[in-house]
Symmetry: none
Subunit: 234 residues, 4 copies
């Protein structure tokens, strides 16, 4: 339901002087990521971000060391969101195939939303080597997670034997392509697309004997309020 957090709500964060600084950081990120998605990171100037927030450019420097840190923080939020969801699926009791389906569904929803979209569209080449290393490690974790689901599926017979690495890659790639394509506010909601994706992509994966797949309902993801520098869920 909640879906995209309201941009206006974020502007409000800057309305009062005294106010939760974390909320303001949030607001900056939320605004930034939307412009990044709309125009691309390099074509977005800090002035663009500041103007939309109705603050001044130097004010941004109070919350972030520089432009790259905003970029990185958006990236981190995207990753954290994903990790969050994966935790739920990991702990779910069910067949490997179910978990794979859950992964696809959850991940799709994330990728259709702001931070996930940014995560997937914006290349991590553009980060500094240090930041890149950090981010890639996290991305790899996500990939490994999906692979483990597939492997579990092969082990428990719900998934047809296959080249795990390649399949994992293909599934993720299919979902990623959504980031370019999906337009929020279009005919289908993110959840609807996600459900269809989960169905379709797992079809080819399922072992013949398996009946129609029941995808467990992983509730929608909440954006964690805080995520201070350096710290990151793993």
């Amino acid at each position: 339901m909640a879906g995209q957090p309201d941009a206006l709500a974020h502007l409000a964060a800057f309305a009062d002087r005294r106010r939760d600084p974390d909320a303001k950081k949030q607001a900056v990120l939320q605004t930034a990521v939307q412009i990044f998605i709309e125009k691309g990171y390099w074509q977005t100037s800090l002035d663009d971000v500041a103007k939309k927030l109705k603050i001044t450019k130097p004010a941004l420097y109070y919350y972030f060391r520089n432009k790259e840190e905003i970029y990185l923080e958006c990236y981190r939020r995207g990753i954290a969101l994903t990790q969050h969801s994966l935790d739920k699926i990991r702990s779910h009791q069910g067949s490997g195939l179910e978990k794979v389906a859950g992964f696809i569904q959850t991940y799709t929803v994330i990728v259709a939303r702001d931070f996930g979209r940014f995560l997937v569209r914006q290349d991590d080449r553009e980060l500094s080597p240090k930041a890149q290393a950090e981010v890639r490690a996290e991305k790899r974790k996500i990939d490994h997670c999906l692979r483990s689901f597939i492997e579990q599926g092969i082990a428990d017979g719900s998934v047809r034997p296959c080249n795990v690495r390649l399949v994992s890659f293909s599934l993720a790639g299919a979902v990623h392509s959504l980031a370019t394509w999906f337009e929020p506010g279009g005919a289908l909601t993110a959840e609807e697309v996600a459900a269809e994706f989960a169905q379709t992509l797992t079809q080819g994966l399922a072992n013949r004997r398996s009946a129609k797949l029941r995808i467990p309902d992983f509730e929608p993801i909440q954006i964690p309020a805080k995520l201070s520098h350096g710290e990151m869920r793993s």
Copy 2:
């Protein structure tokens, strides 16, 4: 075999004053696209390109009107390459599934190479509206082509009934993700990866009865020497 054209060969194009100007244009594009891939378009300055070619920056303006035209021309080359290959597959006699497999294989090889990679990684949002329109029309053609293969497959029974739009999207997405991931000079050649991709991705698509798929051998793509303004194969 040939694979990536040798960068040094292109440097040579500028060795003599008087020489095939098309070769020089080629050389600029080839060099530019490599740097674009390496560092991203926005982080690449024309000085970077010029320096690598051992010419001066304004010399580039002798061959291209501006930076965006270089960008666009790289894009066009990527698209033309793809269209080229699709033509071969379209005219191939075989089941829909075979064509899909052919598409995946061919497209994968292209996406693992310079211009294809650029095409897939660089967002077309960044082009001017006019250029964007041109490019998107071509991209849509490619997508439609893949869909028609799938539909043919469903019609001839080689492909399991499915949501064509979604499947087409997923297949393309899977291949695209390769652009980020594939490192030329790595353990696997582009062709090897392509073959594996074609096998794996079509597995889930094939109708049960179908025996192991025989993927026809579509010979490697040649980069067409010239590709003058405006002209483009469709």
Copy 3:
């Protein structure tokens, strides 16, 4: 007396960080117009202007959108100056001939000074079409004003019947030529030249019976401190 505002006074405007921004805008214009007059607009680089103000080039962009806006603003100032003076003469009670004389005198002084000089020497072809339209409309107003004075003079018998359009044109042309010729700091002050111009040019215009013309004393023009975008006296 005051006459040309002191360039050094303007440099002072940038001495302090925090200071009347309008004063700084003023200072930029004053400095720019002087260099424009000295070397011509096209041979003047923004670096020239900045250097003379002892600031850096991009600082100029804090006050003006681009070079043309500086140009245009100088133009506007020249026009506003003229309009200002004309208002006084329009409201003056006296014969048409007296008003013509007043026009010549006042206009001459303006044309001998910075902004007026710039206005007259620099071609408005060089402005963007939009700016050109704006500026030409104002110029036409000035021309019409002079014509109305002449017509009044003919009506009240102080001016000999003549081709109004041509005479108006010639008078203005005569004054304009001063912009090229007059060197501030030369033997004659602008006011002296102006008085002589007013006498000489009206001599041929006066009806025979009229005794020696008494030119009313229109006090020297003050440069209005502010002249914000878009606003302009008419």
Copy 4:
């Protein structure tokens, strides 16, 4: 009648390889001066000139050392044209007032044409000091010539006593203003305007007793075919 030399005629000069080089120089100047007038010297690139002549940029360097020399040569042509006409008037037998009228008429026609217009509109500040000196000396001669006519008029009683310097300046200024204003191909021909100017401007100058002025008919000026480097009529 002849009026503006035909631009197409000049293009023809470059049609054949072997051909009068002076004719080609002519053609360059004629074309250049037209573009200069249309867009201004600084906004005109040598490419513009070359393109209009359907030759290449470096070819211009065969005929002229650099851009400034083209500029200067246009200037020289304008001056030579004027000098040419003045010679005729100087040798004319008649009152001073008649000569003044003749000056105005002749000069007006010149100023309404290409080279004269350029001469008057384009500032000589833009020339190198050396060229400036040359040109200004010539301009001064023209001014002196007009003054001598006025003085002769005062001496022979045809002109009312006046401040010669100022009147001479005003007359010239009035004519100059035409350069900005006159549009060839408009309602009035240059000759018509010239006649009217001569009438109007001398009216105020004439002594009362003088009857309607008869302006002698100085035939239209021919553009001298050749005018090689450095040489100039005085």
